[in-house]
Amino acid sequence: MKRSRASIIGGSAAIAATFVVFVIPFLFIILMAFKDRQQSALRDFSWPTGFHLWDNVFEVVRTRNWMMITAFVNSSIITVASVTLLIVFAAMVGFVLARRKTRFNGLIEFLILAGLMIPPAVVPTIWLLQGLKLFGTLHGMILIQVAYNLPFSIILYRAFIATIPRELDEAAVIDGARPFDVFFRVVLPLLWPVTVTNIVVQSVGIFNDFTNPLYYLPGNQNATVQLTLYNFQSQFSTAYNLLFTNILLITIPPLIVFMFFNRQIVAGMTAGAVKG
Protein backbone atom coordinates (compact mmCIF):
# COMPACT_ATOMS: atom_id res chain seq x y z
CA MET A 1 0.00 0.00 0.00
CA LYS A 2 1.37 3.39 -0.93
CA ARG A 3 1.36 6.02 1.72
CA SER A 4 -0.68 9.08 0.88
CA ARG A 5 0.89 12.50 0.76
CA ALA A 6 -1.23 13.60 3.74
CA SER A 7 0.19 10.84 5.90
CA ILE A 8 3.75 11.85 5.02
CA ILE A 9 3.12 15.51 5.76
CA GLY A 10 1.20 14.67 8.95
CA GLY A 11 3.91 12.23 9.96
CA SER A 12 6.65 14.77 9.44
CA ALA A 13 4.79 17.33 11.49
CA ALA A 14 4.24 14.76 14.23
CA ILE A 15 7.90 13.80 14.21
CA ALA A 16 8.93 17.42 14.50
CA ALA A 17 6.44 18.15 17.29
CA THR A 18 7.27 15.06 19.34
CA PHE A 19 10.96 15.79 18.82
CA VAL A 20 10.59 19.20 20.39
CA VAL A 21 8.32 18.05 23.21
CA PHE A 22 9.67 14.63 24.10
CA VAL A 23 13.18 14.28 22.69
CA ILE A 24 14.74 17.66 23.41
CA PRO A 25 14.42 17.32 27.21
CA PHE A 26 16.40 14.07 26.98
CA LEU A 27 18.96 15.62 24.66
CA PHE A 28 19.26 18.44 27.16
CA ILE A 29 20.05 15.91 29.91
CA ILE A 30 22.69 14.26 27.73
CA LEU A 31 24.31 17.53 26.67
CA MET A 32 24.43 18.75 30.24
CA ALA A 33 26.15 15.54 31.28
CA PHE A 34 28.95 16.25 28.80
CA LYS A 35 29.64 19.79 29.98
CA ASP A 36 31.96 21.13 32.64
CA ARG A 37 30.64 22.88 35.66
CA GLN A 38 30.99 26.36 34.29
CA GLN A 39 29.24 25.75 31.04
CA SER A 40 26.47 23.70 32.65
CA ALA A 41 25.68 26.57 34.99
CA LEU A 42 24.32 28.46 31.94
CA ARG A 43 21.65 25.77 31.58
CA ASP A 44 21.27 26.42 27.86
CA PHE A 45 20.83 24.06 24.94
CA SER A 46 24.35 24.35 23.61
CA TRP A 47 27.06 22.02 22.35
CA PRO A 48 29.54 21.06 25.11
CA THR A 49 32.82 22.92 24.79
CA GLY A 50 34.78 19.91 25.88
CA PHE A 51 34.22 16.24 26.56
CA HIS A 52 33.67 15.97 30.29
CA LEU A 53 31.34 12.98 30.51
CA TRP A 54 33.86 10.58 32.08
CA ASP A 55 35.05 13.19 34.54
CA ASN A 56 31.46 13.86 35.51
CA VAL A 57 30.59 10.19 35.85
CA PHE A 58 33.62 9.58 38.02
CA GLU A 59 32.82 12.60 40.14
CA VAL A 60 29.19 11.52 40.58
CA VAL A 61 30.10 7.99 41.52
CA ARG A 62 32.77 9.10 43.98
CA THR A 63 30.73 11.76 45.72
CA ARG A 64 29.88 11.29 49.38
CA ASN A 65 32.00 8.27 49.89
CA TRP A 66 30.88 6.33 46.80
CA MET A 67 27.25 6.72 47.69
CA MET A 68 26.18 6.03 44.10
CA ILE A 69 27.61 2.52 44.28
CA THR A 70 25.85 1.86 47.59
CA ALA A 71 22.65 3.24 46.09
CA PHE A 72 22.83 1.06 42.99
CA VAL A 73 23.55 -2.00 45.12
CA ASN A 74 20.66 -1.17 47.48
CA SER A 75 18.23 -0.44 44.67
CA SER A 76 19.22 -3.64 42.89
CA ILE A 77 18.77 -5.72 46.02
CA ILE A 78 15.37 -4.16 46.73
CA THR A 79 14.23 -4.53 43.14
CA VAL A 80 15.37 -8.12 42.63
CA ALA A 81 14.17 -9.39 45.99
CA SER A 82 10.80 -7.69 45.99
CA VAL A 83 10.05 -8.62 42.38
CA THR A 84 10.94 -12.25 43.08
CA LEU A 85 8.62 -12.38 46.08
CA LEU A 86 5.93 -10.53 44.17
CA ILE A 87 6.03 -13.04 41.31
CA VAL A 88 5.69 -16.08 43.53
CA PHE A 89 3.13 -14.65 45.95
CA ALA A 90 0.97 -12.99 43.30
CA ALA A 91 0.99 -16.02 41.01
CA MET A 92 -0.13 -18.24 43.91
CA VAL A 93 -2.97 -15.90 44.79
CA GLY A 94 -3.95 -15.39 41.16
CA PHE A 95 -4.02 -19.14 40.63
CA VAL A 96 -6.30 -19.98 43.53
CA LEU A 97 -8.41 -16.87 42.98
CA ALA A 98 -9.02 -17.70 39.33
CA ARG A 99 -9.66 -21.39 39.95
CA ARG A 100 -11.56 -21.69 43.18
CA LYS A 101 -14.88 -19.97 43.62
CA THR A 102 -15.83 -19.45 47.24
CA ARG A 103 -17.83 -16.84 49.09
CA PHE A 104 -14.57 -15.14 50.05
CA ASN A 105 -13.71 -14.28 46.45
CA GLY A 106 -15.73 -11.06 46.65
CA LEU A 107 -13.86 -9.94 49.76
CA ILE A 108 -10.49 -10.77 48.22
CA GLU A 109 -11.27 -8.83 45.06
CA PHE A 110 -12.39 -5.90 47.19
CA LEU A 111 -9.09 -5.96 49.09
CA ILE A 112 -7.18 -6.03 45.80
CA LEU A 113 -9.04 -3.00 44.48
CA ALA A 114 -8.59 -1.25 47.82
CA GLY A 115 -4.86 -1.86 47.56
CA LEU A 116 -4.80 -0.22 44.15
CA MET A 117 -6.67 2.86 45.33
CA ILE A 118 -5.91 3.58 48.97
CA PRO A 119 -2.78 5.59 49.68
CA PRO A 120 -0.66 3.84 52.30
CA ALA A 121 -0.93 5.32 55.80
CA VAL A 122 2.61 6.55 56.18
CA VAL A 123 3.20 7.28 59.84
CA PRO A 124 1.33 4.25 61.19
CA THR A 125 3.41 2.13 58.80
CA ILE A 126 6.60 3.65 60.16
CA TRP A 127 5.39 3.05 63.70
CA LEU A 128 4.61 -0.57 62.83
CA LEU A 129 7.95 -1.10 61.06
CA GLN A 130 9.73 0.25 64.12
CA GLY A 131 7.80 -2.19 66.27
CA LEU A 132 8.82 -5.02 63.98
CA LYS A 133 12.44 -3.75 63.89
CA LEU A 134 12.11 -3.39 60.14
CA PHE A 135 12.23 0.41 59.92
CA GLY A 136 15.18 1.66 57.91
CA THR A 137 16.20 -1.83 56.83
CA LEU A 138 16.43 -3.25 53.35
CA HIS A 139 14.24 -6.24 54.12
CA GLY A 140 11.59 -3.94 55.56
CA MET A 141 11.70 -1.93 52.36
CA ILE A 142 11.44 -5.11 50.30
CA LEU A 143 8.36 -6.28 52.19
CA ILE A 144 6.79 -2.83 51.80
CA GLN A 145 7.30 -2.96 48.04
CA VAL A 146 5.78 -6.44 47.98
CA ALA A 147 2.73 -5.33 49.96
CA TYR A 148 2.13 -2.20 47.88
CA ASN A 149 2.59 -3.82 44.48
CA LEU A 150 0.83 -7.15 45.08
CA PRO A 151 -2.62 -6.04 43.86
CA PHE A 152 -1.38 -5.08 40.41
CA SER A 153 0.58 -8.30 39.97
CA ILE A 154 -2.33 -10.41 41.18
CA ILE A 155 -4.64 -8.79 38.66
CA LEU A 156 -2.20 -9.50 35.84
CA TYR A 157 -1.82 -13.13 36.88
CA ARG A 158 -5.48 -13.83 37.52
CA ALA A 159 -6.48 -12.59 34.08
CA PHE A 160 -3.86 -14.80 32.46
CA ILE A 161 -4.57 -17.91 34.53
CA ALA A 162 -8.24 -17.70 33.55
CA THR A 163 -7.11 -18.44 29.97
CA ILE A 164 -5.27 -21.65 30.92
CA PRO A 165 -7.64 -24.61 30.63
CA ARG A 166 -8.53 -26.27 33.90
CA GLU A 167 -8.15 -29.69 32.25
CA LEU A 168 -4.40 -29.16 32.45
CA ASP A 169 -4.55 -29.02 36.25
CA GLU A 170 -6.73 -32.10 36.24
CA ALA A 171 -4.44 -34.00 33.89
CA ALA A 172 -1.63 -33.27 36.30
CA VAL A 173 -3.70 -34.52 39.24
CA ILE A 174 -4.43 -37.75 37.38
CA ASP A 175 -0.70 -38.01 36.67
CA GLY A 176 -0.23 -38.00 40.42
CA ALA A 177 0.66 -34.37 41.06
CA ARG A 178 -0.01 -32.84 44.46
CA PRO A 179 -1.36 -29.27 44.56
CA PHE A 180 2.17 -28.01 45.07
CA ASP A 181 3.39 -29.83 41.93
CA VAL A 182 0.38 -28.72 39.93
CA PHE A 183 1.25 -25.12 40.63
CA PHE A 184 5.02 -25.12 40.49
CA ARG A 185 5.58 -27.69 37.75
CA VAL A 186 2.60 -27.22 35.45
CA VAL A 187 0.95 -23.83 35.96
CA LEU A 188 3.86 -21.56 36.89
CA PRO A 189 5.96 -22.47 33.82
CA LEU A 190 2.96 -21.67 31.63
CA LEU A 191 2.72 -18.22 33.17
CA TRP A 192 6.09 -17.24 31.74
CA PRO A 193 4.80 -14.51 29.38
CA VAL A 194 2.89 -12.73 32.11
CA THR A 195 5.77 -13.30 34.51
CA VAL A 196 8.08 -11.45 32.13
CA THR A 197 5.55 -8.64 31.97
CA ASN A 198 5.36 -8.55 35.74
CA ILE A 199 9.12 -8.53 36.11
CA VAL A 200 9.70 -5.61 33.78
CA VAL A 201 6.76 -3.48 34.88
CA GLN A 202 7.38 -3.95 38.59
CA SER A 203 11.15 -3.61 38.42
CA VAL A 204 10.89 -0.30 36.59
CA GLY A 205 8.33 0.91 39.12
CA ILE A 206 10.30 -0.19 42.18
CA PHE A 207 13.63 0.99 40.81
CA ASN A 208 12.12 4.42 40.14
CA ASP A 209 10.29 4.62 43.44
CA PHE A 210 11.20 7.73 45.37
CA THR A 211 8.45 8.20 47.94
CA ASN A 212 8.63 4.91 49.81
CA PRO A 213 12.41 4.84 50.36
CA LEU A 214 12.13 8.48 51.41
CA TYR A 215 9.76 7.51 54.21
CA TYR A 216 10.82 4.02 55.20
CA LEU A 217 14.51 3.87 54.39
CA PRO A 218 16.26 6.89 55.89
CA GLY A 219 20.01 7.10 56.33
CA ASN A 220 22.93 7.47 53.94
CA GLN A 221 24.01 3.85 54.09
CA ASN A 222 20.50 2.96 52.91
CA ALA A 223 20.32 5.37 49.99
CA THR A 224 18.55 4.27 46.85
CA VAL A 225 19.33 5.65 43.43
CA GLN A 226 16.41 8.07 43.35
CA LEU A 227 17.66 9.74 46.51
CA THR A 228 21.16 10.31 45.12
CA LEU A 229 19.68 13.08 42.97
CA TYR A 230 19.67 15.30 46.01
CA ASN A 231 23.44 15.06 46.40
CA PHE A 232 24.14 17.82 43.90
CA GLN A 233 21.30 20.18 44.61
CA SER A 234 21.88 22.75 47.19
CA GLN A 235 20.39 26.10 47.74
CA PHE A 236 23.66 27.90 47.10
CA SER A 237 25.32 26.18 44.22
CA THR A 238 24.00 23.33 42.22
CA ALA A 239 26.52 21.41 40.17
CA TYR A 240 24.33 21.02 37.11
CA ASN A 241 26.79 18.93 35.14
CA LEU A 242 26.92 16.39 37.95
CA LEU A 243 23.19 16.57 38.63
CA PHE A 244 22.38 15.72 35.02
CA THR A 245 25.06 13.06 34.83
CA ASN A 246 23.34 11.51 37.81
CA ILE A 247 19.95 11.71 36.08
CA LEU A 248 21.50 10.15 32.99
CA LEU A 249 23.00 7.30 35.00
CA ILE A 250 19.75 6.36 36.71
CA THR A 251 17.86 6.57 33.41
CA ILE A 252 20.05 3.90 31.84
CA PRO A 253 18.47 0.84 33.55
CA PRO A 254 14.90 1.74 32.47
CA LEU A 255 16.24 2.53 28.99
CA ILE A 256 17.77 -0.93 28.72
CA VAL A 257 14.56 -2.55 29.92
CA PHE A 258 12.62 -0.44 27.45
CA MET A 259 14.80 -1.49 24.53
CA PHE A 260 14.50 -5.20 25.24
CA PHE A 261 11.00 -5.49 26.67
CA ASN A 262 9.10 -2.65 25.04
CA ARG A 263 6.26 -4.90 23.95
CA GLN A 264 5.83 -6.67 27.30
CA ILE A 265 5.77 -3.40 29.19
CA VAL A 266 3.12 -1.90 26.98
CA ALA A 267 1.06 -5.11 27.01
CA GLY A 268 1.36 -5.43 30.77
CA MET A 269 0.53 -1.87 31.60
CA THR A 270 -2.50 -1.79 29.32
CA ALA A 271 -3.76 -5.24 30.34
CA GLY A 272 -3.37 -4.57 34.03
CA ALA A 273 -4.92 -1.17 33.68
CA VAL A 274 -7.93 -2.29 31.68
CA LYS A 275 -8.65 -5.14 34.06
CA GLY A 276 -8.19 -2.99 37.14
Binding site: T18, L85, I118, N208, L229
Partner: protein
Protein backbone atom coordinates in the same frame (compact mmCIF):
# COMPACT_ATOMS: atom_id res chain seq x y z
CA UNK B 1 -6.19 -24.75 57.77
CA UNK B 2 -6.51 -26.08 61.28
CA UNK B 3 -7.53 -29.60 62.09
CA UNK B 4 -11.28 -29.86 62.20
CA UNK B 5 -13.16 -32.87 63.55
CA UNK B 6 -13.19 -35.31 60.65
CA UNK B 7 -16.60 -35.74 59.01
CA UNK B 8 -18.01 -39.18 58.29
CA UNK B 9 -16.34 -39.27 54.88
CA UNK B 10 -12.93 -37.61 54.99
CA UNK B 11 -12.86 -34.67 52.56
CA UNK B 12 -10.14 -34.88 49.97
CA UNK B 13 -7.77 -31.95 49.79
CA UNK B 14 -8.65 -29.25 47.32
CA UNK B 15 -6.56 -28.95 44.21
CA UNK B 16 -6.45 -25.23 44.91
CA UNK B 17 -5.23 -25.00 48.48
CA UNK B 18 -6.26 -22.01 50.57
CA UNK B 19 -2.79 -21.67 52.05
CA UNK B 20 -1.61 -20.35 48.69
CA UNK B 21 -3.14 -17.09 49.86
CA UNK B 22 -1.11 -17.12 53.05
CA UNK B 23 2.22 -15.47 52.11
CA UNK B 24 0.57 -12.65 50.19
CA UNK B 25 -2.12 -12.23 52.82
CA UNK B 26 0.46 -12.03 55.62
CA UNK B 27 2.58 -9.34 53.98
CA UNK B 28 -0.43 -7.40 52.75
CA UNK B 29 -2.36 -7.40 56.01
CA UNK B 30 0.59 -6.61 58.25
CA UNK B 31 2.19 -3.90 56.14
CA UNK B 32 -0.82 -2.43 54.37
CA UNK B 33 -4.15 -3.26 55.98
CA UNK B 34 -3.05 -2.97 59.61
CA UNK B 35 -1.48 0.51 59.21
CA UNK B 36 -4.51 1.65 57.23
CA UNK B 37 -6.83 0.58 60.03
CA UNK B 38 -4.49 1.99 62.67
CA UNK B 39 -4.51 5.33 60.85
CA UNK B 40 -8.20 5.66 61.62
CA UNK B 41 -7.36 5.74 65.32
CA UNK B 42 -4.11 7.72 65.23
CA UNK B 43 -5.70 10.44 63.13
CA UNK B 44 -7.78 11.23 66.23
CA UNK B 45 -4.74 11.69 68.46
CA UNK B 46 -1.82 13.92 69.20
CA UNK B 47 0.91 11.43 68.56
CA UNK B 48 4.62 11.22 69.22
CA UNK B 49 5.08 7.63 68.05
CA UNK B 50 5.61 6.70 71.72
CA UNK B 51 2.34 7.85 73.13
CA UNK B 52 -0.88 9.06 71.66
CA UNK B 53 -3.34 11.45 73.30
CA UNK B 54 -6.89 11.16 72.11
CA UNK B 55 -8.09 14.56 70.90
CA UNK B 56 -11.19 13.66 68.90
CA UNK B 57 -11.63 15.38 65.57
CA UNK B 58 -9.21 18.23 66.31
CA UNK B 59 -6.79 17.21 63.58
CA UNK B 60 -9.56 17.13 61.01
CA UNK B 61 -10.95 20.43 62.23
CA UNK B 62 -7.51 21.89 61.74
CA UNK B 63 -7.39 20.48 58.25
CA UNK B 64 -10.49 22.38 57.28
CA UNK B 65 -9.62 25.55 59.21
CA UNK B 66 -5.98 26.31 58.42
CA UNK B 67 -5.96 28.09 55.03
CA UNK B 68 -2.76 26.39 53.83
CA UNK B 69 -4.22 22.95 54.59
CA UNK B 70 -7.47 23.81 52.87
CA UNK B 71 -5.50 25.00 49.89
CA UNK B 72 -3.72 21.63 49.80
CA UNK B 73 -7.08 19.94 49.66
CA UNK B 74 -8.34 22.15 46.83
CA UNK B 75 -5.04 21.85 44.96
CA UNK B 76 -5.21 18.07 45.12
CA UNK B 77 -8.59 18.00 43.39
CA UNK B 78 -7.59 20.60 40.81
CA UNK B 79 -4.40 18.70 40.06
CA UNK B 80 -6.26 15.40 39.63
CA UNK B 81 -8.92 16.92 37.39
CA UNK B 82 -6.45 18.82 35.21
CA UNK B 83 -4.02 15.93 34.74
CA UNK B 84 -6.63 13.28 34.06
CA UNK B 85 -8.60 15.58 31.74
CA UNK B 86 -5.53 16.44 29.71
CA UNK B 87 -4.39 12.83 29.60
CA UNK B 88 -7.77 11.75 28.23
CA UNK B 89 -7.82 14.39 25.51
CA UNK B 90 -4.16 14.29 24.52
CA UNK B 91 -3.93 10.52 24.92
CA UNK B 92 -6.94 10.01 22.67
CA UNK B 93 -5.57 12.36 20.00
CA UNK B 94 -2.15 10.74 20.06
CA UNK B 95 -3.72 7.28 19.88
CA UNK B 96 -5.85 8.30 16.90
CA UNK B 97 -2.73 9.58 15.22
CA UNK B 98 -0.77 6.44 16.00
CA UNK B 99 -3.48 4.09 14.74
CA UNK B 100 -3.82 6.01 11.45
CA UNK B 101 -1.76 5.51 8.32
CA UNK B 102 1.06 7.68 9.55
CA UNK B 103 4.78 7.26 8.91
CA UNK B 104 7.24 6.43 11.67
CA UNK B 105 4.62 4.95 13.98
CA UNK B 106 7.16 2.88 15.90
CA UNK B 107 9.37 5.88 16.54
CA UNK B 108 6.48 8.09 17.60
CA UNK B 109 5.08 5.50 19.98
CA UNK B 110 8.45 4.86 21.61
CA UNK B 111 9.19 8.55 22.03
CA UNK B 112 5.80 9.24 23.58
CA UNK B 113 5.90 6.20 25.85
CA UNK B 114 9.48 6.34 27.11
CA UNK B 115 8.96 9.12 29.72
CA UNK B 116 6.56 6.74 31.52
CA UNK B 117 9.55 4.60 32.46
CA UNK B 118 11.87 7.36 33.55
CA UNK B 119 12.41 8.38 37.16
CA UNK B 120 9.77 10.90 38.19
CA UNK B 121 12.26 12.78 40.30
CA UNK B 122 14.70 12.96 37.41
CA UNK B 123 11.97 14.37 35.18
CA UNK B 124 10.93 16.82 37.88
CA UNK B 125 14.46 18.14 38.34
CA UNK B 126 15.03 18.41 34.60
CA UNK B 127 11.87 20.42 34.09
CA UNK B 128 12.59 22.60 37.10
CA UNK B 129 15.77 23.63 35.31
CA UNK B 130 14.00 24.00 31.95
CA UNK B 131 11.23 26.07 33.53
CA UNK B 132 13.48 28.52 35.34
CA UNK B 133 11.94 31.98 34.76
CA UNK B 134 15.11 33.65 33.45
CA UNK B 135 17.71 30.96 32.80
CA UNK B 136 15.40 28.10 31.81
CA UNK B 137 15.52 26.93 28.25
CA UNK B 138 11.78 27.31 27.76
CA UNK B 139 11.66 31.00 28.58
CA UNK B 140 14.94 31.67 26.79
CA UNK B 141 13.43 30.17 23.66
CA UNK B 142 10.27 32.21 24.11
CA UNK B 143 12.40 35.34 24.59
CA UNK B 144 14.27 34.50 21.40
CA UNK B 145 10.90 34.39 19.64
CA UNK B 146 10.03 37.74 21.15
CA UNK B 147 7.64 36.53 23.82
CA UNK B 148 7.85 37.00 27.57
CA UNK B 149 7.62 33.62 29.22
CA UNK B 150 5.67 33.27 32.47
CA UNK B 151 7.21 32.39 35.80
CA UNK B 152 6.26 28.76 35.50
CA UNK B 153 7.15 27.58 38.95
CA UNK B 154 7.58 30.86 40.80
CA UNK B 155 4.20 32.40 40.00
CA UNK B 156 1.84 31.16 42.74
CA UNK B 157 -1.11 31.11 40.34
CA UNK B 158 0.81 29.03 37.82
CA UNK B 159 3.03 26.67 39.82
CA UNK B 160 0.45 23.92 40.33
CA UNK B 161 -0.50 23.92 36.66
CA UNK B 162 3.12 23.84 35.56
CA UNK B 163 3.69 20.72 37.64
CA UNK B 164 0.47 19.24 36.24
CA UNK B 165 1.76 19.90 32.74
CA UNK B 166 4.95 17.97 33.46
CA UNK B 167 2.83 15.18 34.95
CA UNK B 168 0.93 15.01 31.65
CA UNK B 169 4.21 15.05 29.72
CA UNK B 170 5.44 12.07 31.70
CA UNK B 171 2.19 10.11 31.90
CA UNK B 172 0.43 10.69 28.61
CA UNK B 173 2.33 7.80 27.02
CA UNK B 174 0.48 5.33 29.22
CA UNK B 175 -2.88 6.92 28.37
CA UNK B 176 -1.93 6.70 24.72
CA UNK B 177 -1.08 3.00 24.75
CA UNK B 178 -4.27 2.24 26.67
CA UNK B 179 -6.25 4.10 24.02
CA UNK B 180 -4.35 2.35 21.24
CA UNK B 181 -5.31 -1.00 22.75
CA UNK B 182 -8.92 0.20 22.95
CA UNK B 183 -8.98 1.55 19.41
CA UNK B 184 -7.53 -1.49 17.70
CA UNK B 185 -10.09 -3.64 19.50
CA UNK B 186 -12.96 -1.85 17.73
CA UNK B 187 -14.07 -4.16 14.90
CA UNK B 188 -13.54 -2.66 11.43
CA UNK B 189 -17.11 -3.65 10.54
CA UNK B 190 -18.50 -0.68 12.42
CA UNK B 191 -16.49 1.76 10.34
CA UNK B 192 -17.47 -0.01 7.15
CA UNK B 193 -21.13 0.00 8.14
CA UNK B 194 -20.85 3.70 9.01
CA UNK B 195 -19.20 4.37 5.66
CA UNK B 196 -22.03 2.66 3.82
CA UNK B 197 -24.42 4.80 5.84
CA UNK B 198 -22.52 7.81 4.53
CA UNK B 199 -20.86 8.98 7.76
CA UNK B 200 -18.21 11.68 7.60
CA UNK B 201 -14.89 11.34 9.40
CA UNK B 202 -16.14 13.52 12.22
CA UNK B 203 -19.36 11.51 12.55
CA UNK B 204 -17.25 8.37 12.52
CA UNK B 205 -15.34 9.67 15.52
CA UNK B 206 -18.35 10.80 17.52
CA UNK B 207 -20.68 7.90 16.77
CA UNK B 208 -18.28 4.98 16.50
CA UNK B 209 -14.86 5.64 17.96
CA UNK B 210 -15.80 7.64 21.02
CA UNK B 211 -18.59 5.39 22.35
CA UNK B 212 -16.72 2.18 21.57
CA UNK B 213 -13.51 3.31 23.24
CA UNK B 214 -15.38 4.07 26.42
CA UNK B 215 -13.73 1.25 28.43
CA UNK B 216 -10.34 2.75 27.58
CA UNK B 217 -11.56 6.20 28.60
CA UNK B 218 -12.85 4.80 31.88
CA UNK B 219 -9.47 3.21 32.54
CA UNK B 220 -7.46 6.30 31.67
CA UNK B 221 -9.66 8.54 33.82
CA UNK B 222 -9.70 6.22 36.83
CA UNK B 223 -6.00 5.52 36.67
CA UNK B 224 -4.82 9.09 36.21
CA UNK B 225 -7.38 10.49 38.63
CA UNK B 226 -6.23 8.22 41.45
CA UNK B 227 -2.62 8.90 40.48
CA UNK B 228 -3.30 12.63 40.47
CA UNK B 229 -4.90 12.60 43.91
CA UNK B 230 -1.97 10.66 45.37
CA UNK B 231 0.80 12.53 43.60
CA UNK B 232 3.80 13.43 45.70
CA UNK B 233 7.19 12.81 44.10
CA UNK B 234 6.78 15.18 41.15
CA UNK B 235 5.55 18.03 43.31
CA UNK B 236 8.28 17.40 45.83
CA UNK B 237 10.95 17.34 43.14
CA UNK B 238 9.74 20.53 41.45
CA UNK B 239 8.30 22.98 43.97
CA UNK B 240 8.21 21.31 47.39
CA UNK B 241 4.69 22.70 47.53
CA UNK B 242 5.79 26.25 46.93
CA UNK B 243 5.93 29.07 46.35
CA UNK B 244 4.44 29.41 49.81
CA UNK B 245 1.78 26.75 49.87
CA UNK B 246 0.65 27.48 46.30
CA UNK B 247 1.29 24.00 44.97
CA UNK B 248 0.87 21.92 48.12
CA UNK B 249 -1.26 18.81 47.80
CA UNK B 250 -2.46 16.53 50.54
CA UNK B 251 0.41 14.14 49.89
CA UNK B 252 3.00 16.87 50.29
CA UNK B 253 1.20 18.13 53.40
CA UNK B 254 1.38 14.63 54.86
CA UNK B 255 5.13 14.62 54.32
CA UNK B 256 5.65 18.11 55.69
CA UNK B 257 3.65 17.39 58.84
CA UNK B 258 5.56 14.14 59.26
CA UNK B 259 8.87 15.97 58.97
CA UNK B 260 7.66 18.54 61.47
CA UNK B 261 6.77 15.78 63.91
CA UNK B 262 3.01 16.29 63.82
CA UNK B 263 2.33 12.62 63.41
CA UNK B 264 -1.35 12.76 64.33
CA UNK B 265 -1.99 15.58 61.88
CA UNK B 266 0.00 13.82 59.19
CA UNK B 267 -2.05 10.67 59.70
CA UNK B 268 -5.24 12.71 59.60
CA UNK B 269 -4.02 13.92 56.20
CA UNK B 270 -3.75 10.29 55.16
CA UNK B 271 -7.31 9.65 56.26
CA UNK B 272 -8.52 12.78 54.46
CA UNK B 273 -6.82 11.62 51.27
CA UNK B 274 -8.30 8.16 51.70
CA UNK B 275 -11.78 9.61 52.16
CA UNK B 276 -11.30 11.99 49.25
CA UNK B 277 -10.35 9.08 46.97
CA UNK B 278 -13.27 7.00 48.18
CA UNK B 279 -15.74 9.86 47.79
CA UNK B 280 -14.54 10.88 44.33
CA UNK B 281 -13.29 7.68 42.72
CA UNK B 282 -15.93 5.17 43.74
CA UNK B 283 -18.84 7.16 42.23
CA UNK B 284 -16.66 8.01 39.25
CA UNK B 285 -15.86 4.39 38.42
CA UNK B 286 -19.45 3.38 39.05
CA UNK B 287 -20.60 6.09 36.67
CA UNK B 288 -18.07 5.13 34.01
CA UNK B 289 -18.85 1.43 34.26
CA UNK B 290 -22.63 1.85 34.43
CA UNK B 291 -22.65 3.63 31.09
CA UNK B 292 -20.53 0.84 29.76
CA UNK B 293 -22.95 -1.83 30.90
CA UNK B 294 -25.73 -0.33 28.84
CA UNK B 295 -24.27 -1.27 25.50
Amino acid sequence: MTAVAAPALPKRRSLYPGWFYAPAAAVYSVLFLAPTLASLYFSLTRWTLFDATFIGFDNFAQFFREPFLVQGLVNTVIYAVVTSGLKVVVGMLLALMLTSEIIARGYLRSVIFFPVLVSTVGVGITFTVLMHPTQGMINQTLAFLGMAGPGWLVDPRLALFSVALVDVWKGVGLATVIYIAGLVAIPRDYYEAARIDGATKLQNFFYVTLPLSRPATATVITLSFIGGLRTFDLIWAMTKGGPGFASDTIASVIYKQYQAGFYGLSTAGNVVLFILIAVLVVPLTMFLNRKQGHE
